[in-house]
Each structure stands twice: as C-alpha cells, then as structure tokens.
Symmetry: C2
Subunit: 104 residues, 2 copies
C-alpha cells in the first residue's frame, strides 16, 4: 500500500483478498498448505491439524480459492490444494512497510 496511493480498483481487489484471510482457520489452512511437502495438501491432511470437519474445511478452502489465494485440483475423490504465490506476493508487496518520509 506503500510507495503510492492505492486506487479504488486495486483497493477493492486487495480488500477482497484480505477478507478471505480475516479468519484464523483460513490463515492456518493457508500456512499448512504452503508448508506441505511439495507445496500441496490433500483436504484429508488438513482437517486434523485445524480440528475442523471436512465440510467446514471445504468451505474455508472454497473462500480461499474464490479469492485467488489457493488453487484446487480434484483427483479421484480427493481435493488437493496449493497456494498461489503470486497472489500472496501481491498482498505482501501492498503491505511493505512504509518508508516514512524524512521528518522535521
């Protein structure tokens, strides 16, 4: 957000992604997937660590996928998820801490 004022369209897009992260379970799910072997996690591997049912995890993952922060691939009966590094990088870039202007 820094290094220039964010225009309305960009602000809307960023806010949409931040909204998807405005839930502790989704933050943890994304971190689990990012840390998973091969950068990919089966939904079957996500339920136990977050202590939520598979339908609830599916719901959270759907929101992350819709926000463009994760991708989903169905293989047989199982869904596999990956994070979208470019989307996370865009968010991180928008938050890069302000370099305060010289003061005084």
């Amino acid at each position: 957000m820094i290094g220039g004022v964010v225009d309305e369209d960009t602000a809307r897009a960023l806010a949409r992604m931040f909204k998807a992260l405005a839930d502790p379970a989704r933050v943890r799910l994304l971190s689990l997937i990012a840390s998973a072997e091969g950068g990919e996690a089966c939904i079957c591997d996500l339920t136990a660590p977050v202590g939520l049912s598979q339908p609830t995890v599916s719901h959270h993952m759907r929101l992350l996928v819709e926000a463009g922060l994760a991708t989903r691939e169905q293989r047989g009966r199982m869904a596999f998820y990956r994070v979208v590094p470019d989307a996370l990088a865009a968010l991180a870039g928008a938050l890069a801490p302000a370099v305060p202007h010289a003061e005084g």
Copy 2:
C-alpha cells in the same frame, strides 16, 4: 504464513489485522497515510480523497487503530494518524510467498 505452520494464537492475531484491511476504504486510508508527507495525515486530509464524511473516516480509522495498524494522536481539534510499520511488516512477512518444496 510461510516458512512454518502458524499456531492458533498467531493465526488469530493475523486474522484480526487482516479483517481490519478487509474493506477498500480502509486499504485506501492506510495507503494515503503511509504516502503522506512526514508519514502523517490529518483526518481533514483524508475525507476528500476517499469521498467519505469525517465521521465515516473516523470510524474506519478507529478500526485500523484498534487492530494496531495505525496510531492516532489528537492535537487541538484535529486527529492525526500514522501507520505502524512493524505491524505492516509482520503481516507482509506472514504472507511472504511460499517457496515451494522441490517437486517430483
């Protein structure tokens, strides 16, 4: 979120800050403040760029302050705001894009 699985307390803290950013007006306000001369903006300078009334801007700013993303200083009749670079850096660090594990 990357470079390790986020524990529950950290996830809750991150989600709280992300929630404060889950609104385009707040994303723009934070970017305006971060880009302001001296890293500080008077509320009187924020209303016009976002096209919102002063009470509405005050409300958004209160949420950003409560989330620890901005600070507020009252001087005379005016409120002045700054971003909290460490908080933004913590969020950005949590989002640092996954370095995918070697695949295949």
